[in-house]
């Protein structure tokens, strides 16, 4: 079944997991630093030089905090929910190709329907949030969970439609194949509308500001994770960031040409380009968060159903028509 020895897969998985978790830790620090600067603060700078050890301090704090389960909670689901979120968020990285060399793809597995696997996994990840809110046995998490379910359904439609445009152009659902199809022209150019829709829906999918109504600390205390503490809260936190990195990776692969170098700068390895592009998206996320206030819930829904969905559908139809006419 596997096209490579299981030991190779294991080693690759461990490496990818390590890299991804480190990326999570430092993208969190990066976010706090950038946000601090944009808010005229220096950001974390006490732990280690420039606060570089802050993630370690945060991790230690999370580990040693008390793990609470409310009396009204459904204990099994309550304890399981963070793992659903985290496993789905981590699982997505199994099929993401990070770069390519003469030896083959840099990634755990090269699945010929990679994009579908990722969408399937991230969709299951929503269950983590919904179940967490539902099983907490408390009103604010429940409201957060209801919001998350509605928000995910509304925005996932537009997101998938915006991606189908790329799939039509590439003619494949393999992520590596999509990147190969962008060797000459990145899909951001013919699919600029799809790109913009993807970016907006991706922010909503990952529950990040200004679409973070699922957490909405000003209204819902902590949203779905109000009752969570300690490591279980930490798992949700990791899952949120991993999802952010995942959607950034997908945006890079689908629209920005993956590891393809721009302007013929091929002497710089592909992995560097990939990391730079993903970093650009993560910076954009942070920039969004510091700039825009949270949307009101009805406006979020209106925007999703009445603007994004029709525009995405139109974009898909036009793309399909042009591809059909051009041959």
């Amino acid at each position: 079944m596997l096209d490579q020895p299981w030991l190779v897969v294991l080693v690759k998985s461990v490496i990818v997991l390590f890299v991804v978790v480190t990326t999570f830790a430092y993208s969190m620090l990066f976010e706090r630093k950038i946000m601090g600067w944009m808010q005229l603060r220096p950001g974390p700078n006490r732990v280690g030089p420039w606060g570089l050890l802050q993630p370690a301090a945060d991790a230690a704090k999370m580990l040693f905090k008390e793990d609470l389960t409310p009396e009204t909670a459904d204990p099994l689901i309550y304890r399981l929910a963070p793992f659903i979120s985290l496993v789905c968020a981590m699982g997505a990285f199994a099929v993401i190709p990070f770069s390519e060399s003469s030896a083959g793809l840099w990634g755990v597995a090269n699945v010929n329907a990679g994009i579908l696997v990722i969408f399937a996994l991230t969709s299951i990840g929503v269950y983590g949030i919904s179940l967490a809110g539902w099983s907490s046995g408390s009103k604010y998490p429940l409201l957060g969970a209801v919001r998350s379910t509605a928000q995910m359904i509304s925005y996932e439609l537009a997101m998938t439609l915006s991606v189908i445009g790329v799939l039509i152009l590439a003619g494949t659902t393999s992520l590596a194949g999509i990147v190969h199809a962008q060797y000459k022209l990145w899909f951001i150019a013919p699919q600029i509308v799809g790109f913009i829709i993807y970016i907006i829906t991706a922010v909503a999918e990952t529950n990040r500001a200004p679409f973070d109504l699922v957490e909405a600390e000003t209204e819902l205390v902590g949203g779905f994770h109000t009752e969570y503490s300690g490591l279980r809260f930490g798992l949700f936190f990791i899952a949120e960031y991993l999802n952010m990195i995942t959607v950034s990776c997908i945006a890079t692969l689908l629209f920005l040409g993956g590891w393809n170098a721009p302007f013929g700068l091929t002497f710089i390895p592909g992995i560097v380009w990939f990391v730079l592009k993903v970093g650009l998206f993560i910076f954009m996320y942070i920039w969004l968060r510091t700039t825009l206030p949270r949307l009101r819930y009805d406006r979020l829904m209106n925007f999703g159903w009445k603007v994004l969905l029709p525009v995405a559908t139109l974009n898909l139809m036009v793309t399909a028509a042009i591809v059909a006419l051009m041959g």
Partner: protein, 197 residues
């Protein structure tokens, strides 16, 4: 506001936050860097001495009466002829200020006929127990080796021109000679005992 108006507004917002990221940060890295405060800043109290080492306080209790927060307790006593603590007839046998009750208004300073009780610019008084905030004479009185203490009027006058500017300095703040230390040497922590006992 149409579509393009909205996009322009968004672009303006993003430009604003981006520019702010490169602005100078007004943050003062407090424990390592400290800010100059006004010379008449109302901080921790101090009981002053005369040049010959005698205590200025004559135990008149006017500060305790003036105190709007009832934070000061003074119990005066007659000076023993062979061991005179103050130049007057009486001295403060006990002098305690509850710094948790104190509102740092400075009325004790105003009320004092001998300029004995003054407020210094020291403000770092954090401690772990409530009892530690009751300062008695052993912590309020200027130690003989530290001079006589500075009257508020003798501190550098006016607000310093650089007030608000950051003074790069490791360690403790240095307002003027005699007010150098936030902690001066070993400080005896005393628990509050009943005044009668």
């Amino acid at each position: 506001m149409g579509f393009f108006g909205g996009v322009t507004a968004l672009a303006k917002g993003f430009a604003t936050t981006f520019q702010f990221a490169f602005r100078k940060k007004p943050t003062v890295q407090y424990p390592t860097v400290k800010k100059q405060h006004a010379p008449r800043f109302h901080g921790l109290h101090e009981l002053r001495r005369y040049a010959d080492g005698k205590e200025r306080c004559i135990g008149c209790e006017l500060c305790a009466i003036a105190c709007p927060a009832n934070a000061i307790t003074v119990i005066g006593a007659e000076n023993a002829p062979d061991d005179r603590r103050s130049p007057g007839e009486r001295y403060a046998a006990r002098y305690e200020i509850d710094e948790l009750r104190c509102i740092f208004c400075g009325l004790c300073e105003e009320a004092c006929p001998t300029d004995a009780i003054v407020l210094t610019p020291r403000f770092e008084m954090a401690d772990y127990r409530r009892g530690s905030f009751i300062y008695s004479k052993d912590r309020l009185l200027v130690p003989p080796e530290a001079g006589v203490g500075t009257a508020p009027d003798e501190r550098p006058g006016g607000i310093p021109a650089d007030l608000g500017a950051v003074i790069e300095q490791k360690g403790t703040v240095d307002i003027a000679a005699g007010y150098g230390a936030t902690h001066r040497g070993e400080i005896l922590k005393t628990e509050r005992r009943g005044l009668a006992g």
